[in-house]
Symmetry: C2
């Protein structure tokens, strides 16, 4: 993590009179410390951040991490530090397990804060390079596989290719859903032989950063018709992406197109989401959110139409938010199998 970013976080903490933020989420620990813990690990974010790791991670974290490291022994050590440093307010992540929260009780006030997830929305140049590499691996890999056999086998082969092409692991469980199963947006690949259309949603992880792409290969006139609508919706949403735009307006741009064609009820998820250390992070491009897009956010744009029992179509690309927005995914939208 760049020093200026840590400085900005500390400034935000000071504004909110939070002297220390207790980080438990792996990606947040990684974000601040530069170390990706393999087991239990917490980071006490403060003027002089302290990473507490298990004995198993002690060796590696000392080498890699940019902050002070100490072996985690018990939560008592942490409350002792908070006491010693006279902390009056501790920030907690929204995702912190209540069981852990209960172990942190003390004379300080505890407040849920999204300082870190807010900070993570804006990517540094280095982070965007990692994301681009994760995209490159996903795109290279999809071109190397054959689309035949069972959905599961296609997914396994794609994942294998991503790994051999340098991905540390999949960014999420690869979706290969064909025929009527493509109408389930999160379908788990089945033991079924591929039918048409074929919807593939996949992503690689590189340097802990994720990519996330969807293509749907269509074959019939009816499928083409839906595909064209989804693409039109996606283009409208991408066009609306600019620093200063409301995420709800980006969602609306896509949703309006799909609704005009009468498929509004079949677009059953939000238009996109931020991508970084996690495949789903802020901002959500949703009608319910009020976040404003800012320079150097990276988001997916992925409208879809799902016709229950028939089929579904989704097209997903990743976009770097800036004055001249850049679609980071380079794979053709029209993707076909020979």
């Amino acid at each position: 993590m760049k020093k200026d970013k840590l400085g900005q976080i500390l400034d935000k903490m000071q504004e909110k009179e939070i002297q220390s933020v207790f980080l438990y989420k792996k990606e947040n620990v990684n974000y601040v410390s530069g170390f990706n813990p393999s087991s239990f690990s917490v980071l006490l974010l403060k003027e002089d951040p302290l990473l507490l790791v298990s004995k198993m991670d002690a060796e590696e974290s000392a080498e890699v991490s940019g902050v002070s490291v100490q072996e985690f022994k018990s939560f008592k050590d942490i409350t002792e530090i908070l006491t010693k440093e006279g902390i009056s307010q501790v920030g907690l992540e929204e995702s912190l397990p209540i069981g852990v929260c209960n172990k942190l009780k003390g004379p300080w006030k505890m407040t849920v804060t999204d300082i870190i997830s807010q900070s993570r929305m804006i990517k540094s140049t280095e982070e965007i390079i990692q994301i681009k590499k994760a995209i490159g691996i996903a795109e290279k890999s999809i071109k190397e596989i054959e689309f035949k056999g069972k959905e599961r086998d296609v997914a396994a082969t794609l994942d294998y290719r991503m790994r051999m092409n340098g991905s540390h692991k999949e960014a999420f469980e690869t979706i290969v859903a064909s025929g009527p199963r493509s109408s389930l947006p999160h379908a788990v690949p089945s033991h079924k032989e591929l039918e048409t259309p074929v919807l593939i949603d996949w992503g690689a992880k590189y340097g802990n950063y994720c990519s996330d792409i969807t293509r749907t290969m269509v074959y019939s006139e009816r499928q083409e018709e839906i595909w064209d609508i989804v693409l039109e919706a996606q283009k409208a949403a991408i066009k609306s992406i600019v620093p200063g735009a409301l995420v709800s307006d980006v969602d609306k741009s896509a949703r309006d197109v799909i609704s005009e064609y009468g498929y509004g009820d079949h677009f059953i998820h939000s238009t996109g989401h931020g991508v970084g250390l996690e495949v789903h992070e802020l901002p959500s491009l949703s009608s319910k959110e009020e976040i404003t897009l800012e320079k150097d956010m990276v988001v997916t744009v992925e409208p879809g139409i799902y016709i229950e029992g028939e089929f579904g179509v989704r097209i997903e690309d990743m976009v770097h938010v800036k004055k001249n927005r850049e679609v980071l995914t380079k794979l053709p939208t029209r993707f076909t199998i020979d």
Copy 2:
């Protein structure tokens, strides 16, 4: 889930005057409902359990789940149900995010409860069958790969074979750590060419149930010496597994052997853990725990010796706790590469 198990859980809830348990952890939702959610989903456990799923999961969950299903719209729906049913105490999982907990506030008392994780410790016959299948896949797959090239490539190939052999996904991130890297118990496979010894820790998932096995392939006299000690420790721990034994005593059985040889400080984790829907679940076979082993628990036994900068050895098998304990893993302990 079998009706009698749900009945037992409801009885336990009644004992503790908890009228409803709010389940948020995916594996707990899966355990009680039989449905493995692909996205946001919660289960309100009560006399008549209610599964709340996203629109995306509505179709599939209605088919698969054994309980009533409703589309999740907002947390208000849940607090309304709790109000309507006059609930006075709600049970929460230890892992529940505080952000979610805050949305559940109402006139009821909220208590952290481990009723579900306690119940999940004892496996049904059906669950043990799934675990055995997950073990079978992991064992078949390791025999099908070649141990050459980079650590990462070996891990990727092993994962691919598990998937092609019917595993839904890896139970956890496969570890292939060789040479000095084997001294890091949770090493991430590197781009390094395989050295010796080679430590492999891997597991498959079948029907959402996990397997977890470790083998270390040793080559030098010094490595053999350490390997023999670890095996002796593992045998001692396995021998101590019987319904009624304290988990801390099982840990001690392994630790004593390793300490006798003077390597106590190099056994830097607990002796094992429960395995089921999660690869790490209760009970932990740790010196700090006071749980008593019961019939039909399934645990790993995995002592290890890690000599920093030199190498590490771990041997891990899975054991079904019963009067005549059964080692479920059938792969020879002495595992060599040609």
